[in-house]
């Protein structure tokens, strides 16, 4: 017992085996503290030179680290947000399909199939994105630019390869789909049966029952699932690195060959050849990415925990 409940009572004798074992368990727990502290400290230590170095060495335009990192941050958030926009409605649909539409026996198998998507390595998604999806989408992009080019999002000139930020967003959406689906499925299944039956007893159709009972109950869970999916999309590296034809710009255009790249992809593409201050700059961008995902994930946890407090089921 590491913490004595009351200091006034005599502690009973401890066996060496108990002391050793609980000590080892404690050490493992503390190692996690240390490891996380080490991640932060080492990243900061290696990133520091990027902030203090001569701006001319840091970026090509000579305006220093921040002007280098801002387009990357934009690209990271832009791609992840687009992915979320695509994945969220689909995930909710799939989760509802599994929890409330599919027959019970099939539902479990369908869940497995969606989980399989989560098991596919990201490099395979990247390969698929560039050899299958990008060429397949290219004619669609041409059509969009020709016919809807007046909308700024679809402004030309159209990319000749399909390796645009929209293709990346689709690949990312496919990758985060299983995460959001799995969590929202759980939440939907937890809807109190009484609420559902009450709605059905009032003569509601299935969809009205879902709108009245399931969705309101699951909203906090949905929000946190979304956040976790977003966190994953922000940090995803290989799919973006392989599919996107990158450049360092801030642009909302979805279909051109000039696409804002992401922090993670930029590191993966440039790290193997980087040297000197370049390494420090890349690590500094990694630190920025870490902070962004930390923020998003903490927000998700915060929402989950707050929900635990007032759900009051147990």
């Amino acid at each position: 017992m590491p913490v004595a409940p009351s200091a006034t009572r005599p502690r009973s004798r401890q066996r060496p085996g108990d002391v050793l074992f609980s000590g080892a368990a404690l050490a493992a727990g503390i190692l996690i503290l240390v490891a996380l502290a080490a991640v932060t400290i080492f990243l900061i230590a290696q990133a520091l030179p990027a902030f203090t170095a001569n701006p001319a060495d840091v970026s090509k335009d000579g305006r220093g680290f921040w002007s280098f990192v801002v387009p990357l941050v934009f690209g990271t958030i832009w791609a992840a947000a687009l992915a979320l926009l695509i994945a969220l409605p689909l995930s909710i649909g799939i989760a509802l399909f599994i929890s409330h539409y599919a027959p019970r026996r099939v539902a479990v198998t369908l869940g497995y199939i969606v989980d399989l998507l989560a098991a596919v390595p990201s490099v395979v998604f990247g390969l698929w994105g560039i050899t299958v999806l990008a060429p397949a989408m290219q004619p669609v992009y041409v059509w969009l630019v020709d016919n809807l080019g007046w909308i700024p999002l679809f402004a030309g000139p159209v990319s000749g390869t399909g390796r645009t930020v929209l293709t990346v967003a689709i690949v990312l959406a496919v990758m985060i789909l299983p995460i959001i689906t799995a969590l929202s499925r759980e939440v939907f299944l937890q809807t109190p049966r009484l609420h559902e039956e009450a709605a059905l007893a009032l003569g509601a159709t299935r969809w009205e029952m879902i709108r009245m009972a399931v969705l309101p109950f699951g909203r906090p869970g949905l929000i946190s699932a979304t956040m976790l999916g977003l966190g994953r999309a922000l940090g995803e590296t290989m799919a973006v690195a392989m599919v996107l034809s990158p450049s360092v710009i801030i642009s909302f255009a979805l279909l051109t060959s000039q696409n804002p790249t992401t922090i993670a992809a930029n590191i993966a593409l440039n790290f193997p050849e980087a040297s000197g201050i370049g390494v420090n700059v890349l690590i500094a961008t990694g630190l920025v990415l870490f902070l962004i995902t930390l923020l998003v994930n903490s927000l998700a946890r915060f929402i989950i925990n707050r929900r635990k407090d007032f759900s009051g089921a147990n």
Partner: protein
């Protein structure tokens, strides 16, 4: 083998909550003592202090003394693990280890403590303990089957065999029949009567007929109200308690007026 238990001014706490107050009693060797009383009166809590199982629950502690043949269980240098080897326990719900065979369940106390035991010694111990628990005839042909393959009553006797295999001096039973059917209950009650010749037995029960059937002495615990500590109201020969109780509350409880 069996030993005398003396309890002096025992108070039991869960954190700041006092669950049992001011219990003093003496339990003679080779007797069966029954603890009766309404739910929440602290009889199970008190039973668990007799082998220091109580303190497994975080924040729980004890004031006072429990002496077994004059040695205080709560002395500063006493090892709770040693205490529990001396004072065995059988729980409310049968809890054989699901990962072990019947044989390994009986040997659990030896094997889990990393003690070496030769095959023939182990065989003898298994046979002796299962015979002691009146289970040998029923399971001798399937000792390698999982313990959870037995019926509820058999599982409970397996748990008793497991407890007596470490040859304790005292056997504590916390409502051992409450999850069992009447026939299994009867088998356990017969067993208690036989075990009495080797062990000091303390049994908590909700069933007053059971208390009157199996025990030599009976202790009645009661509680004044929620949030109040449980207290020992009356302790004496079972016949006296059931036929001529000296306290009104005991009589009310025994005649079924509450609880």
């Amino acid at each position: 083998m069996s030993k005398r238990i003396e309890v002096r001014d025992l108070n039991v706490f869960y954190g700041n909550f006092k669950a049992v107050a001011d219990v003093s009693l003496t339990i003679e060797p080779k007797t069966v003592t029954a603890f009766i009383g309404p739910s929440g009166c602290g009889k199970s809590t008190f039973l668990r202090t007799l082998n220091r199982m109580h303190e497994v629950i975080p924040g729980a502690y004890v004031e006072g003394e429990v002496l077994i043949d004059g040695e205080n269980l709560y002395a500063a240098n006493t090892d709770p693990v040693e205490v529990r080897r001396q004072v065995g326990m059988v729980f409310q719900r049968p809890n054989p280890f699901p990962t072990m065979s019947i044989r390994d369940n009986v040997l659990a106390g030896v094997k889990l403590n990393n003690n070496r035991i030769s095959k023939s010694d182990a065989d003898d111990l298994v046979k002796k303990s299962l015979q002691g628990a009146n289970l040998w005839k029923e399971v001798k042909d399937r000792l390698d089957k999982p313990g959870s393959s037995l019926s509820g009553g058999q599982q409970q006797r397996l748990c008793i065999a497991r407890a007596i295999a470490v040859s304790p001096d005292v056997l504590l039973m916390d409502e051992p029949c409450s999850a069992l059917d009447p026939i299994s209950t009867l088998a356990i009650e017969d067993l208690i009567d036989e075990l009495k010749s080797d062990f000091t037995i303390v049994i908590v029960t909700h069933n007053m007929q059971q208390a009157s059937r199996v025990s030599d002495k009976t202790a009645f615990f009661n509680i004044e109200g929620t949030g109040m500590p449980g207290r020992l109201i009356e302790y004496g020969d079972t016949r006296t308690i059931f036929e001529r109780p000296s306290v009104q509350a005991t009589e009310d409880y025994i005649s079924g007026r509450f609880g």
